[in-house]
Amino acid sequence: MNCEICEQIKNKKGVLYQDKNITAMLAPKPTAAGHVYIVPKKHVTILEQIPDKIIGEMFAKANKISMACFESLGVQGTNLLIQNGLPAGQHHNHCILHVIPRRENDGLNLAWQPKQINEEEMSTAEIKIKENTSQVGVFEKEKQKPIKIKEPEEIKDKEKEEDYRLKERIP
């Protein structure tokens, strides 16, 4: 499976920031000067496959990078954008959170025309969506925590054992 983004993470070309889970890189073909991709390091195709913790971190880093765009590039605005799926215009098979710096009259087309939708359509959409929201706000928990607690306990046990033996020997 060829993924341009995964290759770029390996090559470190244009990488601005990276940590355990996330890489931020300068877009090779930017739509505006300073266009940054924020991606999960592990290959993930669509937004819904990203673990909750990592998508949260991605947004936090995107916000910091957005601030950096204001400060270092002197832009007047930024857009954060996820194109999730082909009809949304997703080009790569790796999920990307775009940070796009904006300048006045830059000629970018990132707006939409509102559609005329009647009251009936609105309420059917509302009902359909509400039927599925029971799990929203329930986040995945981290699995690594119990392992960290075990380690110090084992060391303590060893110390106790040693002490116990010494006490036995003294009388």
Binding site: V15, A60, N63, L80, L86, N109, L110, K128, I129, V136
Partner: protein, 243 residues
């Protein structure tokens, strides 16, 4: 934006239509609510099911928000996108945030759009890739990476940093090895003393051997370190001379 007094903020919140939607004073088609955000149906939707995620606190733009709220908004975006895909049988979603008028922000309150997408829906929002010269690319890279260092700390995981870290780890490991050796010697002493003090000479011999080994190891390490630092030491000398 930061120089706003609490009284002014209260006034803004009274006038802000989105603060009133979030607090329930203005009627809306509410989809989801928790202590930090509210999700409602947009009254001027790009597609049926177009959602707005609004913070309960008043922020003009995202950079004003604390990290925990930004992270929460991200997680909610993922989950609501999932809900939309399932409920409306979509083929995709667009998650969109605008910071500043130049970015197309119309309201004075932070909000995130989640737009349902289907093939041929003519919504727009096109990211057109453009070619950029390598000199421009490098210039932007330099400027941005400095800004990001300021906001995110040092860039971790890049080559130089990782080398330094591995060196630190190695030295720590060596120290721990030495400690364990010392403990072993102590343990050995106790055992031998318990065994009626029969062969004290051997204990001493073992000790001496281990101490010799230790000193040898340390000398080797020192030599290594000096080799590594030869380049830097020249600079240090230059500094001293300059002062």
């Amino acid at each position: 934006m930061e120089g706003i007094t609490p009284e002014q903020l209260a006034q803004i919140q009274q006038q802000c239509i989105f603060c009133q939607i979030a607090s329930g004073k203005v009627a809306s088609k509410k989809i989801y609510e928790d202590e930090k955000v509210v999700a409602v149906l947009d009254i001027n939707p790009a597609n049926p099911g177009h959602l707005l995620v609004i913070t309960k606190k008043h922020y003009f733009v995202m950079p004003q928000m604390p990290d925990d709220e930004v992270e929460h908004v991200g997680k909610i975006a993922k989950q609501l996108s999932q809900v939309l895909l399932k409920a409306l049988k979509l083929e995709g979603t667009t998650v969109f945030i605008a910071n500043g008028v130049a970015a197309g922000q119309k309201a004075q309150h932070f909000m995130m759009h989640i737009i349902p997408r289907k093939e041929g829906d003519e919504v727009g929002i096109q990211v057109q890739p453009k070619q950029i010269s390598e000199t421009d690319y490098d210039k932007i890279y330099q400027a941005l990476s400095q800004g990001i260092k300021k906001n995110l700390g040092d860039i971790t995981g890049l080559e130089k940093k990782s080398e330094e870290k591995t060196e630190e780890k190695e030295s720590k490991e060596k120290i721990s090895e030495e400690e364990t050796e010392e403990k072993e010697i102590e343990d050995a002493e106790i055992v031998k003393e318990d065994a009626e003090e029969s062969k004290p000479k051997i204990v001493i011999d073992e000790r001496k051997k281990k101490e010799k080994k230790k000193t040898e190891k340390k000398e080797k390490e020192k030599k290594k370190k000096n080799k590594d630092k030869e380049g830097a030491s020249l600079d240090d000398i230059a500094k001293v001379l300059g002062a």
